[in-house]
């Protein structure tokens, strides 16, 4: 894992620093917009590397400790590289009473990984989220932002097969 992280850092460094510069510029280097800047970078880069956080800190004039505090506090940020396909299983109350815990189990056992993990080949990241806000469809999962309502075992097999 460590090797993978450092490789990604070197490989992505020019692209990443370009992204930081552009994003910070878009918000006029306003330190109040730190969270918004990190959100955009998370979307663009897929994760926030130590190099990115350091760049943000420098360009905004915000202590790196505060940048880390925020990046580690909020769920939207990832400090490690994530999979190519993000599976989010909704654990909101409505989904909960309609069997979300069982659904997580099924997915976890099908992919042989635990919630919060990224598969070794970086194909999938499996996450549980607190509420996707489409409670009427529960239990619901979102794979790369596409929502699936009440997926059966068969549905799941074909969804995962389609995500290479």
């Amino acid at each position: 894992m460590k090797a993978a992280v450092s490789r990604a850092q070197t490989k992505g460094s020019t692209r990443a620093s370009r992204a930081v510069k552009k994003t910070v510029g878009r918000y006029n280097a306003d330190p109040d917009m730190l969270i918004q800047i990190l959100l955009d970078l998370q979307t663009t880069l897929g994760w926030l590397s130590p190099g990115v956080l350091a760049d943000v800190s420098e360009q905004l004039g915000v202590p790196v400790s505060r940048v880390y505090h925020i990046a580690s506090f909020y769920k939207a940020f990832s400090l490690v590289p994530r999979g190519r396909h993000i599976i989010k299983v909704c654990m909101g109350t409505a989904c909960q009473v309609r069997g979300a815990p069982q659904l997580v189990n099924v997915i976890a056992s099908m992919l042989n990984m635990k919630p919060g993990e990224t598969s070794e080949d970086r194909r999938f990241t499996l996450e549980t989220v607190n509420c996707l806000g489409c409670c009427a469809m529960g239990p619901v999962i979102a794979v790369d932002g596409v929502y699936h309502s009440k997926p059966t075992t068969e549905d799941l097999r074909s969804i995962f097969k389609g995500a290479r």
Binding site: I70, T93, G133
Partner: protein
């Protein structure tokens, strides 16, 4: 009116002229096809349906007979999505598929006939109900705030203006003083829809009177309560109503800067808000000298980054300052010292969306709806084990029973109602004996729950109340910011105890320990989220103590839901060896073949309930057992004994 390069409206008259111009271009007789593209319908493919309508109208050469094809925000009846409504006749088609589109265009749009097959059918009477407002789900609602969603393309400000949008703003800014606006809201007794139910007018007044410097107003759309999505639907479907309310509030308070704080999980709400702000600014409804009144107001949108606790007002304000969204002690209210130490008035999306209605129709009208202490309507997210899940807006004072049975259509599959959970992680569960309670802020609080933001999760006999308490406590445990000990450690200990009970490791004294911890959390937590986090535990304990005791004393989960206490078993006498469960099992734990009775390998079984759910009801061979010994599996190769029915 205005010249080509300047769309700014600088008087009430110009706004009214614009409205008339928009309306004059619309032939009221011509059909409008509206396709719900709220998040749920979108997930069912409604965007493709919308595009197909546009193509199909052209293909059949009838695009001229239609005024418009509109993609709208959420209509509320998410269970039946994708929903298509054809105005002015209000013909409502449910669960529309792509292939239905050509027929709808030729038969209904061009031919004027209703397609029976696509119409909502009352599950009890089988009666087909073509008109949207006749459907029982809608019939008993009072959709004052939410109802306009179905007429509006949220990306088109003209749609909002056509319905009289921004007329309340014009009235407030040009015909009322800030003091009069404030008095109207105070008089209406509008209470905060975000959870606490604090009178909005009083909050506004405190902010106005706090000091003379800058002041801020905030829309809280960080809807974090699991099981609730009303604010999402308003922000996505009718963002101008919220902005209009916000500007009116800012005027009353004397604020010139506002924020909209939107949950990052709601990308469409964010996009539509950004777009609405641009459009409103273009018309001079935001920015400087709004409608020629001399009043200036600007809005900035912030996205949350995924933290439940950031919806708490002090935490949200620190997130707006680019800091970690953690709450602080409220010795001084945010109305006095909020964003950057300045007086700040924060209200929830639904609260702001009520403001234009009150200004336009008056406090007297608003007060005529609802109960003594709770006026107006409330939008609920009616979800869980209920037939008609979706968003419903009802007058305050409607009973839980009316909401769940008359609008919600009762519990699916003939199961028995057990409880309804209101108020999210700060609320509680209410059992059957309170179904006739009128819904209002004070009634629900009196029973140990709360109104909260409007999540209403229905639970049936299959829901375990201890597990429900464990669920909410784990939720809060994950989301606690960890600053104060009562919340951080209290929740952790509660989670451990409740998990033990759910796993059959409960012991005497556990219930008393829970009660002690809950008391300390309530008294000593730093913020309201910690102070109320034990409510789901306390209410389940109050109303379902016997379930706790069954877990602890008999190792039995009465709902047969707790995994550690429940086993799945195929009854050899009932199994027809149909292979359905065997194929559906995700872990291949079920053995057997055609003609050979199936059995479950308990080692491999992950207790996902799939087999129990897919076993055809005419066999009902899969059983759940809790608190009783598991019978041995049948001898290998046991043939089906069940007599085949024809």
């Amino acid at each position: 009116m205005t010249d080509m390069n300047d769309n700014r409206l600088s008087s009430a008259k110009q706004l009214e002229t614009l409205r008339k111009t928009i309306l004059s271009k619309r032939d009221a007789e011509k059909p409008i096809i509206t396709v719900c593209t709220g998040t749920a319908c979108q997930a069912y493919g409604s965007l493709e349906i919308y595009r197909r309508f546009v193509e199909e109208l052209e293909r059949q050469g009838v695009e001229g007979s239609v005024l418009e094809t509109k993609s709208t925000g959420c209509h509320g009846f998410c269970e039946q999505g994708p929903v298509v409504v054809i105005f002015p006749r209000e013909i409502c088609y449910v669960r529309v598929q792509l292939d239905d589109v050509p027929e709808i265009v030729s038969t209904t749009v061009a031919g004027g006939d209703v397609i029976e097959r696509l119409v909502y059918r009352d599950p009890n009477t089988q009666e087909a109900i073509p008109k949207e407002s006749d459907i029982p789900f809608y019939k008993r609602q009072m959709r004052l705030v939410f109802g306009n969603n179905r007429y509006i393309d949220p990306r088109e400000i003209d749609d909002y203006i056509a319905l009289g949008g921004y007329a309340a703003l014009s009235k407030a800014l040009l015909r009322m003083t800030p003091g009069e606006v404030l008095e109207e809201i105070k008089e209406s007794n509008l209470r905060g829809r975000g959870g606490g139910g604090f009178p909005a007018g009083l909050k506004w007044e405190t902010t106005r009177d706090a000091s003379t410097g800058s002041k801020y107003v905030i829309v809280n759309c960080d809807e974090g309560d699991p099981g609730a999505y009303m604010d999402r639907a308003i922000m996505e479907g009718n963002p101008h109503a919220v902005l209009e309310g916000l500007v009116i509030g800012a005027y009353a308070i004397g604020s010139h800067d506002g924020f909209v704080y939107v949950r990052q999980e709601y990308p469409i709400a964010y996009e539509n808000t950004m777009n609405a702000i641009d459009q409103a600014r273009d018309y001079g409804l935001l920015g400087s000298d709004i409608l020629g009144s001399g009043f200036d107001f600007e809005v900035v949108v912030h996205r949350g980054a995924g933290a439940f606790v950031s919806g708490e007002s002090t935490a949200l304000m620190s997130a707006i300052e680019g800091k970690v969204g953690e709450p602080r002690m409220k010795y001084i209210r945010t109305a006095v010292s909020g964003v950057k130490g300045m007086p700040t008035c924060l209200n929830n999306v639904e609260t702001w969306a009520n403001v234009p209605l009150i200004i336009e129709r008056g406090a007297g009208w608003f007060k005529s709806i609802g109960t003594e202490g709770s006026k107006g309507t409330k939008i609920f997210s009616l979800v869980g084990k209920v037939n008609n899940t979706g968003l419903v807006e009802v007058p305050m004072g409607m009973t839980l029973r009316q909401l769940i049975y008359d609008i919600g259509g009762g519990i699916p599959q003939g199961k028995k109602f057990k409880a309804v959970q209101t108020g999210g992680p700060s609320g509680g569960v209410l059992p059957e004996q309170y179904l006739d309670t009128p819904i209002d802020f004070d009634e629900l609080t009196g029973l140990g729950s709360m109104m909260g933001s409007g999540g209403m999760v229905v639970m049936d006999e299959d829901t375990c109340m201890v597990d429900t308490a464990r669920y909410f406590v784990s939720f809060c445990c994950d989301e606690s910011c960890g600053q104060c000990i009562p919340c951080r450690e209290g929740l952790r200990t509660l989670r451990d105890i409740l998990t033990d009970i759910c796993e059959g490791k409960g012991k005497g004294g556990d219930i008393e320990a829970i009660e002690d911890i809950a008391e300390v959390m309530e008294d000593a937590s730093l913020c309201a989220l910690g102070g109320t986090a034990a409510n789901p535990v306390l209410t389940t304990l109050k109303y379902f103590r016997d379930e706790y005791e069954a877990h602890i004393k008999e190792n039995r989960c009465p709902a047969e839901a707790c995994k550690a206490l429940t086993s799945y078993y195929v009854d050899p006498a009932k199994c027809s060896a149909c292979m359905i469960c065997l194929r559906a099992c995700p872990t291949e734990a079920i053995h057997g073949e055609k003609g050979i009775v199936h059995w479950i390998d308990q080692e491999k079984c992950i207790k996902c309930t799939t087999c129990y759910e897919v076993c055809p009801t005419r066999f009902s061979a899969v059983r759940r057992l809790s608190g009783e010994p598991l019978p041995p599996p049948p001898a290998p190769g046991t043939k089906v004994t069940r007599e085949k029915k024809r």
